[in-house]
């Protein structure tokens, strides 16, 4: 269960790599990660996810800003003095040690006694279901098994925070799904705070308690998966998570007026938004279609393409405004053929499905 105690707080972290042109890998990042939560850093390649993780682990020091662990400033502590462990993307298992030796390593470095180490290693092996492979070397086990050993090795010292840098990206789809469930189980069983990095939005949505969406060294938004999906604050976040339709609208007293004059009603909370030109977001699955009745004020479009996906069908429309618009409709056994390419359809949108973006 997540509590409201903070595990990690990052204040105005800046990380600049000096070079011919300076790289702002992290540009004024502030973030709070709660105890016992599954926190995900999500963003495209090169946005600074690994850099942020390396700053928390201590492999890198911030150019400026502070990192607090349990309210204590750890910005300048070396990695071996931080109660934080990492699962590396390539696992980084020690090839000259056995599976058991790898898991024992951190405990030995902490000065645990031989018997304590031995029983902790067995406990960890059981946790990741690898008891039988204790005496194998990393080269003698499969990729998925190496992944488990890497997890066990990082969890064994009972760190306060576990950092995972795209740990599943090297696995095939089936194994990845399995490991996603496994990771969630490990997190709830151990009660350790997980900070998980991925650039896979679906993985982020299904696994996380909270998500931070990053781009170009900045955190654009963070919150729980529902908030991020339903109330993205800007175009980048909306685009990165899920499929989106963007339309230009003039906000006038609680209505969004499209460029062709069509009026869409806004929800109560959106009524506070000041008048003016804005982008609005409508998710493809939040729109209903029906046969056009030909009324002047209706929100209408013409079907330009239909793509069948098994569980659902995507309808590509051209709106009266000239914009492209996609609708996703769940398939049912009693499929009609009402909607064919070239047909004009009327669209109905719940007022809560319209999200006004900041940029």
């Amino acid at each position: 269960m997540t509590t409201n105690d903070e595990a990690i707080e990052i204040k105005n972290a800046l990380k600049v790599y000096k070079g011919d042109t300076d790289v702002y890998a992290l540009n004024d990042v502030s973030l709070m990660i709660k105890k016992n939560e599954f926190f995900t850093l999500l963003g495209p390649s090169g946005c600074g996810k690994t850099t942020l993780l390396r700053l928390i682990a201590g492999f890198e020091h911030p150019t400026s800003g502070t990192i607090l662990l349990n309210k204590e400033d750890i910005s300048l502590l070396p990695p071996n003095k931080r109660p934080v462990n990492t699962v590396f993307q390539n696992y980084a298992l020690f090839p000259h040690m056995t599976v058991g030796g790898n898991i024992a390593f951190g405990l030995e470095m902490l000065g645990w006694s031989k018997s304590e180490v031995a029983s902790a290693v067995d406990e960890m092996l059981e946790l990741v279901k690898m008891q039988d492979l204790k005496n194998r070397r990393p080269a003698e086990i499969s990729g998925g098994q190496q992944q488990r050993v890497a997890l066990a090795r990082a969890l064994a010292p009972k760190p306060q925070v576990l950092l995972l840098d795209e740990p599943l990206s090297a696995l095939d789809l089936k194994l990845r799904k399995q490991m996603q469930i496994e990771l969630k189980r490990l997190q709830s069983e151990t009660g350790i705070t997980f900070v998980f990095v991925t650039h896979d939005q679906e993985e982020a949505l299904t696994m996380s308690d909270r998500i931070a969406v990053m781009n170009e060294g900045k955190i654009l938004q963070y919150g729980n998966p529902r908030d991020i999906y339903h109330h993205p604050e800007n175009k980048f976040v909306a685009n990165f998570i899920g499929d989106s339709n963007f339309l230009l609208a003039d906000i006038q007293n609680g209505n969004a007026v499209l460029t062709d004059g069509t009026e869409l009603k806004l929800s109560k909370e959106n009524k506070q938004v000041s008048n003016g030109q804005k982008s609005i977001l409508i998710r493809p699955e939040h729109v209903q279609m029906s046969k056009a009745k030909g009324s002047k004020k209706a929100f209408e479009g013409k079907i330009s393409n239909i793509v069948y996906f098994g569980t659902d069908t995507h309808f590509h429309l051209e709106l009266k405004t000239g914009d492209d618009f996609t609708i996703r409709k769940q398939n049912t056994p009693n499929e009609g053929t009402d909607f064919e390419i070239g047909a004009v359809v009327e669209l109905t949108i719940d007022e809560n499905a319209i999200q006004i973006l900041n940029d």
């Binding site: 990492t86 590396f88 980084a92 020690f94 090839p95 390593f105 990082a154």
Partner: protein
Amino acid sequence: MARSSLFNRPFEIKRIPSFQSIALFTFVGLYGPIIILITYSFNSSASLGVFESFSFQWYITAWENEKVQEAAFRSLYLAATAATIATIAATMAALATTRTKKFRGMTLIFVIINQPLMIPEIVTAVALLVFFAMIKIATGYTGMLYLIIAHTAFCIPFAYLPIRARLESMDLTLETAGADLYATPWKTFQRITLPMIWPGIIAGYMLAFVISLDDVVISEFVKSAGQETLPTYMLGQLRRFITPETNAIATVNIAVSVILVSGFFLLTQRKK
């Protein structure tokens, strides 16, 4: 048909005209003399022309020759000492040139380390002769230290290259993982880096050992009176007359080198 098959077939070195005779010539040129030398080391007579019968006689003669014993012991002592110092220095140099951020003068260090590979040995030998002569006059010391220093210097690049190769192929995240798992930098080196580069260190040591053991030119110039190593002793013998005893010593020398160099290749070959 014949034409197209000529063009379709991949290039094969064996199809170059006279490839086989060149290969044969090379093998005979390389190994012929050595095989003859080894054969005659087992000759029971002192003749270099006629092989009478098989015997270990010359090995026994050499073994019982006090001068050979002394030179052999000196050579081994020198090779062991020089290779040890050179390997330690080479390991530190290899760590400094692969584990630190690129710094000014890194290339210079690389050049300095590998200098013995580039400057003709005879030039180094003469330079050392002159340099050590000055020190000998100034201090009066004429011990083994000169040979040890000289051998250490030219052994370093041979020890350095395999160690560096090993370090460069090692995944740096392993050291990061060590630090992440509460190991101090020294513990990380001890428990992770050192075991991983150990084959490179042994290989470097073996190569340095062979190079020192086989050296003639620098030893000949640097040694003080009475400090014969096995190769300089053999050279001295050859100046007077060739005896099968020299063949026997040379054969033993070849055997030691072959064993060490084979060991070197086994260790540097990457297992996967």
